[in-house]
Protein backbone atom coordinates (compact mmCIF):
# COMPACT_ATOMS: atom_id res chain seq x y z
CA UNK A 1 0.00 0.00 0.00
CA UNK A 2 1.53 3.30 -1.00
CA UNK A 3 1.01 6.04 1.52
CA UNK A 4 -1.54 8.73 0.88
CA UNK A 5 0.06 12.14 0.41
CA UNK A 6 -2.38 15.02 0.41
CA UNK A 7 -0.07 17.05 -1.83
CA UNK A 8 -0.22 14.41 -4.56
CA UNK A 9 -3.70 13.40 -5.78
CA UNK A 10 -2.21 10.46 -7.69
CA UNK A 11 -1.71 8.78 -4.28
CA UNK A 12 -5.46 8.91 -3.48
CA UNK A 13 -6.62 5.32 -3.90
CA UNK A 14 -9.91 4.44 -5.52
CA UNK A 15 -11.91 1.28 -4.97
CA UNK A 16 -10.02 -0.31 -7.85
CA UNK A 17 -7.10 -0.68 -5.46
CA UNK A 18 -7.88 -3.94 -3.66
CA UNK A 19 -6.88 -2.70 -0.19
CA UNK A 20 -9.21 0.29 -0.63
CA UNK A 21 -12.07 -1.59 -2.23
CA UNK A 22 -14.60 -0.58 0.44
CA UNK A 23 -13.13 2.84 1.20
CA UNK A 24 -12.99 4.78 -2.02
CA UNK A 25 -10.97 7.87 -1.14
CA UNK A 26 -10.94 9.15 -4.71
CA UNK A 27 -14.73 9.26 -4.79
CA UNK A 28 -14.74 11.91 -2.07
CA UNK A 29 -11.37 13.56 -2.69
CA UNK A 30 -10.00 14.28 -6.15
CA UNK A 31 -7.68 17.20 -5.61
CA UNK A 32 -5.21 18.46 -3.07
CA UNK A 33 -7.18 20.40 -0.47
CA UNK A 34 -6.06 23.91 0.42
CA UNK A 35 -3.79 23.80 3.49
CA UNK A 36 -5.49 24.23 6.83
CA UNK A 37 -4.71 27.42 8.75
CA UNK A 38 -2.69 27.52 11.93
CA UNK A 39 -4.87 27.47 15.04
CA UNK A 40 -4.21 27.76 18.75
CA UNK A 41 -5.41 25.03 21.04
CA UNK A 42 -5.34 24.67 24.78
CA UNK A 43 -4.09 21.52 26.48
CA UNK A 44 -6.89 19.04 27.21
CA UNK A 45 -8.77 16.49 25.16
CA UNK A 46 -10.95 13.57 26.25
CA UNK A 47 -8.18 12.02 28.34
CA UNK A 48 -7.13 15.29 30.03
CA UNK A 49 -8.25 14.11 33.46
CA UNK A 50 -5.84 11.18 33.28
CA UNK A 51 -2.80 13.46 33.44
CA UNK A 52 0.58 12.60 31.94
CA UNK A 53 2.49 14.32 29.18
CA UNK A 54 0.80 15.84 26.17
CA UNK A 55 1.86 15.99 22.56
CA UNK A 56 -0.60 17.80 20.33
CA UNK A 57 -0.98 18.56 16.66
CA UNK A 58 -3.35 21.36 15.71
CA UNK A 59 -4.35 21.19 12.06
CA UNK A 60 -1.26 19.10 11.51
CA UNK A 61 1.18 21.50 13.21
CA UNK A 62 3.07 20.29 16.24
CA UNK A 63 2.32 22.31 19.38
CA UNK A 64 5.74 21.77 20.89
CA UNK A 65 7.48 18.43 20.39
CA UNK A 66 6.68 16.07 17.51
CA UNK A 67 8.40 13.01 18.93
CA UNK A 68 8.50 11.29 22.30
CA UNK A 69 10.71 8.82 24.10
CA UNK A 70 9.03 6.94 26.92
CA UNK A 71 10.97 5.63 29.88
CA UNK A 72 9.85 4.20 33.21
CA UNK A 73 6.11 4.33 33.75
CA UNK A 74 4.53 7.07 31.72
CA UNK A 75 1.27 8.32 30.32
CA UNK A 76 1.31 10.22 27.05
CA UNK A 77 -1.72 11.96 25.62
CA UNK A 78 -1.27 12.19 21.90
CA UNK A 79 -3.80 14.60 20.41
CA UNK A 80 -4.64 15.20 16.79
CA UNK A 81 -6.91 18.21 16.75
CA UNK A 82 -8.66 19.36 13.60
CA UNK A 83 -10.32 22.76 13.58
CA UNK A 84 -10.68 23.51 9.91
CA UNK A 85 -13.33 23.95 7.25
CA UNK A 86 -12.83 22.38 3.84
CA UNK A 87 -9.04 22.36 4.12
CA UNK A 88 -6.46 19.63 4.61
CA UNK A 89 -3.55 18.87 6.91
CA UNK A 90 -1.07 16.10 7.63
CA UNK A 91 1.14 15.17 10.52
CA UNK A 92 3.50 12.42 11.47
CA UNK A 93 4.81 11.49 14.87
CA UNK A 94 7.34 9.07 16.19
CA UNK A 95 7.07 7.46 19.60
CA UNK A 96 9.96 5.46 20.97
CA UNK A 97 9.87 3.40 24.12
CA UNK A 98 12.88 2.39 26.18
CA UNK A 99 13.32 -1.26 27.16
CA UNK A 100 11.41 -2.02 30.34
CA UNK A 101 9.25 1.09 30.04
CA UNK A 102 5.50 1.00 30.54
CA UNK A 103 3.69 3.51 28.40
CA UNK A 104 0.00 4.31 28.37
CA UNK A 105 -0.58 6.05 25.07
CA UNK A 106 -3.90 7.86 25.04
CA UNK A 107 -4.51 9.05 21.53
CA UNK A 108 -7.40 11.27 20.54
CA UNK A 109 -8.53 12.46 17.16
CA UNK A 110 -10.65 15.51 17.91
CA UNK A 111 -12.48 17.23 15.11
CA UNK A 112 -14.32 20.49 15.61
CA UNK A 113 -14.44 21.93 12.13
CA UNK A 114 -16.27 20.62 9.12
CA UNK A 115 -15.40 19.05 5.80
CA UNK A 116 -11.66 18.88 6.56
CA UNK A 117 -9.20 16.27 5.36
CA UNK A 118 -6.69 14.88 7.87
CA UNK A 119 -3.87 12.49 7.18
CA UNK A 120 -1.71 11.12 10.01
CA UNK A 121 1.16 8.76 10.37
CA UNK A 122 2.25 7.27 13.67
CA UNK A 123 5.39 5.24 14.25
CA UNK A 124 5.79 3.31 17.43
CA UNK A 125 8.60 1.04 18.54
CA UNK A 126 8.02 -1.32 21.43
CA UNK A 127 11.30 -3.01 22.43
CA UNK A 128 11.77 -6.19 24.44
CA UNK A 129 10.35 -6.09 27.98
CA UNK A 130 8.48 -2.87 27.29
CA UNK A 131 4.73 -2.62 27.60
CA UNK A 132 2.52 -0.23 25.68
CA UNK A 133 -1.24 0.23 26.05
CA UNK A 134 -2.56 2.41 23.26
CA UNK A 135 -6.14 3.63 23.33
CA UNK A 136 -7.30 5.59 20.29
CA UNK A 137 -10.52 7.57 20.61
CA UNK A 138 -11.76 9.14 17.39
CA UNK A 139 -14.51 11.73 17.48
CA UNK A 140 -14.92 13.56 14.21
CA UNK A 141 -17.65 15.50 12.40
CA UNK A 142 -19.91 13.63 9.99
CA UNK A 143 -18.44 15.41 6.95
CA UNK A 144 -14.73 14.97 7.73
CA UNK A 145 -12.32 12.79 5.81
CA UNK A 146 -9.48 11.25 7.77
CA UNK A 147 -6.82 8.65 7.35
CA UNK A 148 -4.41 7.49 10.01
CA UNK A 149 -1.74 4.88 9.51
CA UNK A 150 0.19 3.43 12.43
CA UNK A 151 3.34 1.38 12.01
CA UNK A 152 4.08 -0.56 15.16
CA UNK A 153 7.11 -2.75 15.82
CA UNK A 154 6.75 -5.13 18.71
CA UNK A 155 10.03 -6.80 19.62
CA UNK A 156 10.26 -10.30 21.11
CA UNK A 157 9.12 -10.19 24.72
CA UNK A 158 7.19 -6.94 24.35
CA UNK A 159 3.57 -6.39 25.30
CA UNK A 160 1.42 -4.28 23.01
CA UNK A 161 -2.26 -3.58 23.50
CA UNK A 162 -4.28 -1.40 21.19
CA UNK A 163 -7.95 -0.45 21.20
CA UNK A 164 -9.41 1.87 18.61
CA UNK A 165 -12.81 3.39 19.29
CA UNK A 166 -14.52 5.44 16.66
CA UNK A 167 -17.80 7.06 15.72
CA UNK A 168 -16.80 7.35 12.05
CA UNK A 169 -16.84 10.30 9.66
CA UNK A 170 -17.70 10.92 6.02
CA UNK A 171 -14.81 8.67 5.11
CA UNK A 172 -12.46 7.46 7.77
CA UNK A 173 -9.75 4.86 7.82
CA UNK A 174 -7.51 3.64 10.62
CA UNK A 175 -4.74 1.36 9.52
CA UNK A 176 -2.45 -0.53 11.82
CA UNK A 177 0.61 -2.37 10.51
CA UNK A 178 2.20 -4.45 13.17
CA UNK A 179 5.49 -6.27 12.90
CA UNK A 180 5.24 -9.02 15.48
CA UNK A 181 8.59 -10.16 16.77
CA UNK A 182 7.36 -13.39 18.27
CA UNK A 183 8.81 -15.10 21.37
CA UNK A 184 5.64 -14.66 23.36
CA UNK A 185 5.25 -11.04 22.42
CA UNK A 186 1.64 -10.53 23.45
CA UNK A 187 -0.40 -8.37 21.18
CA UNK A 188 -4.01 -7.30 21.61
CA UNK A 189 -5.48 -5.40 18.70
CA UNK A 190 -9.07 -4.41 19.34
CA UNK A 191 -11.52 -2.14 17.65
CA UNK A 192 -14.97 -0.72 18.19
CA UNK A 193 -17.17 1.35 15.93
CA UNK A 194 -20.61 2.85 16.45
CA UNK A 195 -21.87 4.54 13.31
CA UNK A 196 -25.05 6.34 12.42
CA UNK A 197 -26.26 8.64 9.66
CA UNK A 198 -24.10 8.33 6.56
CA UNK A 199 -20.88 7.75 8.44
CA UNK A 200 -18.17 5.45 7.23
CA UNK A 201 -15.24 3.92 9.04
CA UNK A 202 -12.63 1.42 7.99
CA UNK A 203 -10.51 -0.48 10.49
CA UNK A 204 -7.73 -2.15 8.59
CA UNK A 205 -4.90 -4.08 10.17
CA UNK A 206 -2.02 -6.22 9.03
CA UNK A 207 -0.20 -8.24 11.67
CA UNK A 208 2.95 -9.94 10.49
CA UNK A 209 4.32 -12.71 12.72
CA UNK A 210 8.06 -13.00 12.16
CA UNK A 211 9.27 -14.87 15.23
CA UNK A 212 8.55 -18.01 17.20
CA UNK A 213 5.63 -18.35 19.63
CA UNK A 214 4.01 -14.98 19.05
CA UNK A 215 0.53 -14.35 20.40
CA UNK A 216 -2.08 -12.08 18.85
CA UNK A 217 -5.62 -11.59 20.04
CA UNK A 218 -7.86 -9.37 18.00
CA UNK A 219 -11.47 -8.46 18.74
CA UNK A 220 -13.43 -5.87 16.81
CA UNK A 221 -17.08 -5.11 17.32
CA UNK A 222 -19.30 -2.62 15.61
CA UNK A 223 -22.81 -1.37 15.19
CA UNK A 224 -24.17 0.47 12.17
CA UNK A 225 -27.49 2.30 11.86
CA UNK A 226 -29.24 4.33 9.16
CA UNK A 227 -27.10 4.19 6.01
CA UNK A 228 -23.76 3.98 7.79
CA UNK A 229 -21.04 1.66 6.59
CA UNK A 230 -18.48 -0.21 8.63
CA UNK A 231 -15.44 -1.85 7.10
CA UNK A 232 -13.19 -4.35 8.83
CA UNK A 233 -10.13 -5.69 7.05
CA UNK A 234 -7.96 -7.82 9.27
CA UNK A 235 -5.01 -9.70 7.95
CA UNK A 236 -2.70 -11.92 9.93
CA UNK A 237 0.41 -13.19 8.18
CA UNK A 238 2.46 -15.95 9.76
CA UNK A 239 5.85 -15.97 8.05
CA UNK A 240 7.88 -19.06 7.34
CA UNK A 241 9.54 -20.20 10.56
CA UNK A 242 7.14 -18.37 12.88
CA UNK A 243 6.18 -21.66 14.49
CA UNK A 244 4.15 -21.72 17.68
CA UNK A 245 2.22 -18.63 16.64
CA UNK A 246 -1.16 -18.32 18.35
CA UNK A 247 -3.32 -15.77 16.54
CA UNK A 248 -7.02 -15.21 16.94
CA UNK A 249 -9.15 -12.66 15.17
CA UNK A 250 -12.82 -11.92 15.73
CA UNK A 251 -15.06 -9.36 14.11
CA UNK A 252 -18.70 -9.14 15.13
CA UNK A 253 -21.15 -6.52 14.00
CA UNK A 254 -24.77 -5.55 14.39
CA UNK A 255 -26.68 -4.04 11.51
CA UNK A 256 -29.49 -1.95 12.98
CA UNK A 257 -30.60 -0.13 9.86
CA UNK A 258 -32.07 -1.71 6.79
CA UNK A 259 -29.76 0.30 4.56
CA UNK A 260 -26.67 0.13 6.73
CA UNK A 261 -23.76 -1.95 5.54
CA UNK A 262 -20.84 -3.95 6.88
CA UNK A 263 -17.94 -5.17 4.79
CA UNK A 264 -15.68 -7.62 6.53
CA UNK A 265 -12.58 -9.19 5.13
CA UNK A 266 -10.68 -11.37 7.59
CA UNK A 267 -7.58 -12.97 6.12
CA UNK A 268 -5.07 -15.47 7.41
CA UNK A 269 -1.90 -16.11 5.44
CA UNK A 270 0.10 -18.89 6.98
CA UNK A 271 3.52 -20.02 5.82
CA UNK A 272 4.58 -21.81 9.01
CA UNK A 273 3.57 -25.35 9.97
CA UNK A 274 2.99 -25.48 13.68
CA UNK A 275 0.56 -22.64 14.39
CA UNK A 276 -2.82 -22.03 15.93
CA UNK A 277 -4.80 -19.48 14.00
CA UNK A 278 -8.50 -18.82 13.93
CA UNK A 279 -10.84 -16.14 12.79
CA UNK A 280 -14.52 -15.65 13.37
CA UNK A 281 -16.83 -13.16 11.79
CA UNK A 282 -20.51 -12.66 12.52
CA UNK A 283 -22.91 -10.03 11.30
CA UNK A 284 -26.48 -9.90 12.47
CA UNK A 285 -29.29 -8.13 14.19
CA UNK A 286 -30.28 -7.93 17.83
CA UNK A 287 -31.69 -11.17 19.17
CA UNK A 288 -35.50 -10.95 18.90
CA UNK A 289 -36.12 -13.39 21.72
CA UNK A 290 -33.85 -11.39 24.03
CA UNK A 291 -35.71 -8.22 23.07
CA UNK A 292 -39.05 -9.82 23.85
CA UNK A 293 -37.77 -11.22 27.13
CA UNK A 294 -36.62 -7.77 28.24
CA UNK A 295 -39.91 -6.16 27.21
CA UNK A 296 -41.84 -8.86 29.01
CA UNK A 297 -40.08 -7.76 32.19
CA UNK A 298 -41.15 -4.17 31.59
CA UNK A 299 -38.22 -2.64 29.70
CA UNK A 300 -39.58 -0.58 26.77
CA UNK A 301 -38.43 -1.68 23.30
CA UNK A 302 -36.08 1.27 22.66
CA UNK A 303 -34.43 0.93 26.03
CA UNK A 304 -34.08 -2.82 25.53
CA UNK A 305 -32.40 -2.29 22.16
CA UNK A 306 -30.01 0.29 23.62
CA UNK A 307 -29.13 -1.98 26.53
CA UNK A 308 -28.43 -4.96 24.27
CA UNK A 309 -26.36 -2.85 21.86
CA UNK A 310 -24.35 -1.39 24.69
CA UNK A 311 -23.76 -4.80 26.22
CA UNK A 312 -22.63 -6.09 22.85
CA UNK A 313 -20.04 -3.34 22.39
CA UNK A 314 -18.86 -3.23 26.00
CA UNK A 315 -17.10 -6.54 25.57
CA UNK A 316 -14.39 -4.61 23.71
CA UNK A 317 -14.35 -1.77 26.26
CA UNK A 318 -13.97 -4.27 29.11
CA UNK A 319 -10.77 -5.54 27.50
CA UNK A 320 -9.04 -2.16 27.83
CA UNK A 321 -6.31 -2.82 30.37
CA UNK A 322 -6.12 0.74 31.71
CA UNK A 323 -8.97 1.33 34.14
CA UNK A 324 -9.29 5.12 33.85
CA UNK A 325 -9.07 5.04 30.07
CA UNK A 326 -11.71 2.31 30.08
CA UNK A 327 -14.06 4.59 32.04
CA UNK A 328 -13.47 7.51 29.64
CA UNK A 329 -14.32 5.25 26.71
CA UNK A 330 -17.33 3.80 28.50
CA UNK A 331 -18.84 7.23 29.15
CA UNK A 332 -18.05 8.41 25.63
CA UNK A 333 -19.73 5.39 24.15
CA UNK A 334 -22.74 5.55 26.47
CA UNK A 335 -23.33 9.15 25.39
CA UNK A 336 -22.89 8.17 21.75
CA UNK A 337 -25.50 5.39 21.98
Amino acid sequence: MTAVDLRDPSTFPSRRVEAWKYTDLRRVLRETPAPSPAVDIAPGGPFAALGGEEIAFANGRAVGADAFVASGKQTLRLRFVSDATGTGHSASVRIAVKPGARLTLLESHEGTGSGYVANYRIELDVPASAEVTRVVLIDEPADAISIAVAHVKAAPGAVYRQTTITGGAKLQRQETHLAHGGEATAVTLDGLYALSGERHTDLTSVVRHNGLNGVTSQLTKGVVRDTARGVFQGKIVVERGADGTDARMGHHALILGERAEIDAKPELEIYADDVQCAHGNTIGNLDESALFYMQQRGIPADEARALLTQAFLFEVVDRIAHEDAREVVRSWLTAKL
Partner: protein, 249 residues
Protein backbone atom coordinates in the same frame (compact mmCIF):
# COMPACT_ATOMS: atom_id res chain seq x y z
CA UNK B 1 -59.76 -10.78 37.20
CA UNK B 2 -58.46 -12.40 34.00
CA UNK B 3 -61.11 -12.98 31.41
CA UNK B 4 -60.27 -14.62 28.10
CA UNK B 5 -63.12 -14.89 25.66
CA UNK B 6 -63.13 -16.87 22.39
CA UNK B 7 -59.42 -16.16 21.80
CA UNK B 8 -57.99 -17.11 18.43
CA UNK B 9 -54.25 -16.79 17.95
CA UNK B 10 -52.20 -17.51 14.86
CA UNK B 11 -48.46 -17.88 14.50
CA UNK B 12 -47.65 -16.96 10.94
CA UNK B 13 -50.60 -18.30 9.01
CA UNK B 14 -51.13 -21.19 11.35
CA UNK B 15 -54.05 -20.98 13.80
CA UNK B 16 -52.94 -22.35 17.19
CA UNK B 17 -55.57 -21.14 19.65
CA UNK B 18 -59.05 -21.64 18.25
CA UNK B 19 -61.64 -20.10 20.52
CA UNK B 20 -60.15 -20.34 24.00
CA UNK B 21 -62.38 -19.13 26.82
CA UNK B 22 -61.16 -18.96 30.40
CA UNK B 23 -61.79 -16.94 33.55
CA UNK B 24 -59.40 -16.71 36.46
CA UNK B 25 -60.84 -14.84 39.45
CA UNK B 26 -58.58 -12.89 41.81
CA UNK B 27 -56.73 -15.01 44.33
CA UNK B 28 -57.04 -18.24 42.35
CA UNK B 29 -54.48 -20.53 40.81
CA UNK B 30 -55.56 -22.26 37.61
CA UNK B 31 -53.59 -25.01 35.96
CA UNK B 32 -53.53 -25.43 32.20
CA UNK B 33 -52.67 -28.97 31.23
CA UNK B 34 -52.57 -30.55 27.84
CA UNK B 35 -50.69 -32.65 25.36
CA UNK B 36 -47.68 -31.38 23.44
CA UNK B 37 -48.66 -29.03 20.66
CA UNK B 38 -52.00 -28.11 22.23
CA UNK B 39 -51.08 -24.41 22.35
CA UNK B 40 -50.04 -24.11 26.01
CA UNK B 41 -46.94 -22.00 25.39
CA UNK B 42 -48.80 -20.01 22.74
CA UNK B 43 -51.31 -19.00 25.40
CA UNK B 44 -48.49 -17.63 27.59
CA UNK B 45 -46.95 -15.75 24.68
CA UNK B 46 -50.29 -14.37 23.49
CA UNK B 47 -51.14 -13.07 26.96
CA UNK B 48 -47.74 -11.39 27.27
CA UNK B 49 -47.77 -9.97 23.73
CA UNK B 50 -44.92 -11.73 21.98
CA UNK B 51 -44.52 -10.39 18.41
CA UNK B 52 -45.64 -12.96 15.87
CA UNK B 53 -48.43 -14.31 18.08
CA UNK B 54 -51.36 -12.53 16.56
CA UNK B 55 -54.80 -12.50 18.14
CA UNK B 56 -57.17 -12.73 15.19
CA UNK B 57 -60.39 -12.95 17.18
CA UNK B 58 -61.70 -12.74 20.73
CA UNK B 59 -60.63 -10.69 23.72
CA UNK B 60 -58.44 -10.73 26.80
CA UNK B 61 -59.42 -8.55 29.71
CA UNK B 62 -57.19 -8.04 32.71
CA UNK B 63 -58.66 -6.12 35.65
CA UNK B 64 -61.34 -4.92 33.25
CA UNK B 65 -58.83 -3.57 30.71
CA UNK B 66 -58.19 -4.87 27.20
CA UNK B 67 -54.70 -6.41 27.19
CA UNK B 68 -54.40 -7.13 23.49
CA UNK B 69 -53.92 -3.46 22.58
CA UNK B 70 -50.88 -3.05 24.80
CA UNK B 71 -47.23 -3.71 23.91
CA UNK B 72 -45.32 -6.27 26.01
CA UNK B 73 -43.65 -3.70 28.28
CA UNK B 74 -46.97 -1.96 28.98
CA UNK B 75 -48.58 -5.31 29.84
CA UNK B 76 -45.68 -6.02 32.16
CA UNK B 77 -46.24 -2.69 33.92
CA UNK B 78 -49.89 -3.74 34.38
CA UNK B 79 -48.64 -6.77 36.28
CA UNK B 80 -48.36 -9.48 33.63
CA UNK B 81 -45.39 -11.78 34.19
CA UNK B 82 -44.52 -14.78 32.06
CA UNK B 83 -42.03 -17.20 33.56
CA UNK B 84 -40.35 -18.66 30.49
CA UNK B 85 -40.02 -22.36 29.87
CA UNK B 86 -36.55 -21.60 28.51
CA UNK B 87 -35.33 -18.34 30.10
CA UNK B 88 -33.25 -16.26 27.69
CA UNK B 89 -29.56 -15.49 28.18
CA UNK B 90 -28.67 -11.80 28.04
CA UNK B 91 -24.88 -11.54 27.54
CA UNK B 92 -23.25 -8.40 28.89
CA UNK B 93 -26.09 -7.37 31.19
CA UNK B 94 -25.56 -8.38 34.82
CA UNK B 95 -28.65 -9.97 36.38
CA UNK B 96 -28.82 -7.25 39.06
CA UNK B 97 -28.70 -4.48 36.46
CA UNK B 98 -31.32 -6.23 34.42
CA UNK B 99 -33.83 -6.64 37.21
CA UNK B 100 -33.33 -3.13 38.55
CA UNK B 101 -33.74 -1.67 35.05
CA UNK B 102 -36.93 -3.67 34.61
CA UNK B 103 -38.32 -2.73 38.02
CA UNK B 104 -37.66 0.97 37.51
CA UNK B 105 -39.07 0.92 33.98
CA UNK B 106 -42.28 -0.60 35.36
CA UNK B 107 -42.42 1.95 38.14
CA UNK B 108 -41.92 4.82 35.69
CA UNK B 109 -44.70 3.44 33.49
CA UNK B 110 -47.01 3.39 36.52
CA UNK B 111 -45.97 6.88 37.62
CA UNK B 112 -44.29 5.58 40.80
CA UNK B 113 -40.93 6.59 42.28
CA UNK B 114 -37.93 4.53 41.23
CA UNK B 115 -36.34 2.26 43.79
CA UNK B 116 -33.00 3.40 45.22
CA UNK B 117 -29.91 1.23 44.81
CA UNK B 118 -29.51 0.37 48.54
CA UNK B 119 -33.21 -0.46 48.94
CA UNK B 120 -33.10 -2.61 45.85
CA UNK B 121 -30.01 -4.50 46.99
CA UNK B 122 -31.65 -5.21 50.33
CA UNK B 123 -34.71 -6.66 48.59
CA UNK B 124 -32.52 -8.77 46.32
CA UNK B 125 -30.51 -10.15 49.23
CA UNK B 126 -33.65 -11.26 51.03
CA UNK B 127 -35.30 -12.73 47.96
CA UNK B 128 -32.19 -14.59 46.82
CA UNK B 129 -31.72 -16.04 50.29
CA UNK B 130 -35.25 -17.42 50.29
CA UNK B 131 -34.55 -19.10 46.97
CA UNK B 132 -31.16 -20.37 48.18
CA UNK B 133 -29.37 -18.50 45.42
CA UNK B 134 -25.77 -17.34 45.57
CA UNK B 135 -25.85 -13.54 45.59
CA UNK B 136 -22.59 -13.32 43.60
CA UNK B 137 -24.27 -15.17 40.76
CA UNK B 138 -26.48 -12.11 40.29
CA UNK B 139 -23.46 -10.04 39.33
CA UNK B 140 -22.96 -12.26 36.30
CA UNK B 141 -24.69 -11.63 32.97
CA UNK B 142 -28.30 -12.74 33.21
CA UNK B 143 -28.70 -16.50 32.73
CA UNK B 144 -25.38 -16.82 30.88
CA UNK B 145 -23.80 -20.07 31.98
CA UNK B 146 -26.59 -20.68 34.52
CA UNK B 147 -27.82 -24.26 34.85
CA UNK B 148 -31.43 -25.07 33.99
CA UNK B 149 -32.37 -24.99 37.67
CA UNK B 150 -30.54 -21.70 38.26
CA UNK B 151 -32.40 -20.11 35.36
CA UNK B 152 -35.75 -21.16 36.81
CA UNK B 153 -34.81 -19.78 40.21
CA UNK B 154 -33.80 -16.57 38.50
CA UNK B 155 -37.28 -16.39 36.99
CA UNK B 156 -38.88 -16.80 40.42
CA UNK B 157 -36.48 -14.24 41.90
CA UNK B 158 -37.56 -11.73 39.27
CA UNK B 159 -41.15 -12.56 40.05
CA UNK B 160 -40.59 -11.91 43.74
CA UNK B 161 -38.93 -8.56 43.03
CA UNK B 162 -41.24 -7.30 40.30
CA UNK B 163 -44.34 -8.33 42.26
CA UNK B 164 -46.62 -8.98 39.28
CA UNK B 165 -50.34 -9.58 39.72
CA UNK B 166 -50.88 -12.01 36.84
CA UNK B 167 -48.34 -14.81 37.01
CA UNK B 168 -48.06 -17.17 34.07
CA UNK B 169 -45.75 -20.09 34.69
CA UNK B 170 -44.82 -21.94 31.52
CA UNK B 171 -43.52 -25.45 32.29
CA UNK B 172 -41.69 -24.14 35.33
CA UNK B 173 -40.96 -27.67 36.51
CA UNK B 174 -39.09 -28.75 33.39
CA UNK B 175 -35.44 -29.42 34.09
CA UNK B 176 -35.80 -29.22 37.86
CA UNK B 177 -34.81 -31.95 40.29
CA UNK B 178 -37.00 -32.61 43.32
CA UNK B 179 -35.12 -30.26 45.65
CA UNK B 180 -35.12 -27.41 43.17
CA UNK B 181 -38.76 -28.06 42.40
CA UNK B 182 -39.62 -27.70 46.08
CA UNK B 183 -37.65 -24.45 46.47
CA UNK B 184 -39.12 -22.97 43.31
CA UNK B 185 -42.64 -23.99 44.30
CA UNK B 186 -42.23 -22.45 47.73
CA UNK B 187 -41.16 -19.25 45.99
CA UNK B 188 -44.30 -19.33 43.87
CA UNK B 189 -46.57 -20.22 46.78
CA UNK B 190 -45.20 -17.29 48.75
CA UNK B 191 -46.64 -15.05 46.06
CA UNK B 192 -50.15 -16.44 46.32
CA UNK B 193 -52.43 -13.66 47.45
CA UNK B 194 -56.01 -12.44 47.11
CA UNK B 195 -54.92 -9.72 44.62
CA UNK B 196 -53.07 -12.08 42.33
CA UNK B 197 -54.10 -14.58 39.72
CA UNK B 198 -51.89 -17.41 38.50
CA UNK B 199 -51.89 -19.59 35.43
CA UNK B 200 -49.73 -22.65 35.81
CA UNK B 201 -49.01 -24.25 32.46
CA UNK B 202 -47.72 -27.77 32.76
CA UNK B 203 -47.65 -31.07 30.95
CA UNK B 204 -47.25 -33.14 34.09
CA UNK B 205 -49.23 -33.35 37.27
CA UNK B 206 -46.03 -33.41 39.38
CA UNK B 207 -45.76 -29.62 39.75
CA UNK B 208 -49.36 -29.46 41.00
CA UNK B 209 -48.41 -31.50 44.06
CA UNK B 210 -46.38 -28.48 45.09
CA UNK B 211 -48.43 -25.63 43.67
CA UNK B 212 -52.02 -26.62 44.43
CA UNK B 213 -54.44 -25.29 41.86
CA UNK B 214 -58.00 -24.20 42.53
CA UNK B 215 -59.04 -25.25 39.05
CA UNK B 216 -57.58 -27.47 36.34
CA UNK B 217 -58.27 -26.98 32.64
CA UNK B 218 -57.41 -29.25 29.78
CA UNK B 219 -56.15 -27.45 26.68
CA UNK B 220 -56.26 -29.54 23.53
CA UNK B 221 -56.08 -28.43 19.90
CA UNK B 222 -56.34 -24.78 20.84
CA UNK B 223 -59.38 -24.85 23.16
CA UNK B 224 -60.28 -25.63 26.73
CA UNK B 225 -61.97 -29.02 26.43
CA UNK B 226 -62.48 -29.88 30.08
CA UNK B 227 -62.35 -28.14 33.43
CA UNK B 228 -62.52 -29.43 36.97
CA UNK B 229 -61.03 -29.36 40.42
CA UNK B 230 -57.55 -30.59 41.42
CA UNK B 231 -58.73 -34.19 41.02
CA UNK B 232 -58.79 -33.67 37.23
CA UNK B 233 -55.00 -33.45 37.22
CA UNK B 234 -54.73 -36.86 38.91
CA UNK B 235 -57.18 -38.31 36.47
CA UNK B 236 -55.11 -36.98 33.55
CA UNK B 237 -51.96 -38.41 35.08
CA UNK B 238 -53.62 -41.83 35.26
CA UNK B 239 -55.45 -41.81 31.93
CA UNK B 240 -53.37 -39.53 29.70
CA UNK B 241 -54.72 -37.04 27.20
CA UNK B 242 -55.93 -39.51 24.58
CA UNK B 243 -59.60 -39.16 25.28
CA UNK B 244 -59.47 -35.39 24.70
CA UNK B 245 -57.84 -35.58 21.31
CA UNK B 246 -60.71 -36.82 19.08
CA UNK B 247 -63.37 -34.54 20.50
CA UNK B 248 -61.07 -31.53 20.24
CA UNK B 249 -60.25 -32.15 16.61
Amino acid sequence: MLSINNLHVSVGDKPILKGLTLDVPAGEVHAIMGPNGAGKSTLGYALSGRPGYEATEGSVEWKGEDLLDLDPAARSAKGVFLSFQYPIEIPGVPALTFVRTALNAQKRARGEDEVSAPAFLKQVREASKALKMDFDMLKRPLNVGFSGGEKKRMEILQMALLEPSLLILDETDSGLDIDALRIVSEGVNALRSPDRAMLVITHYQRLLDYIKPDRVHVLAAGRIVASGGPELAHQLEAEGYDKYLPQAA
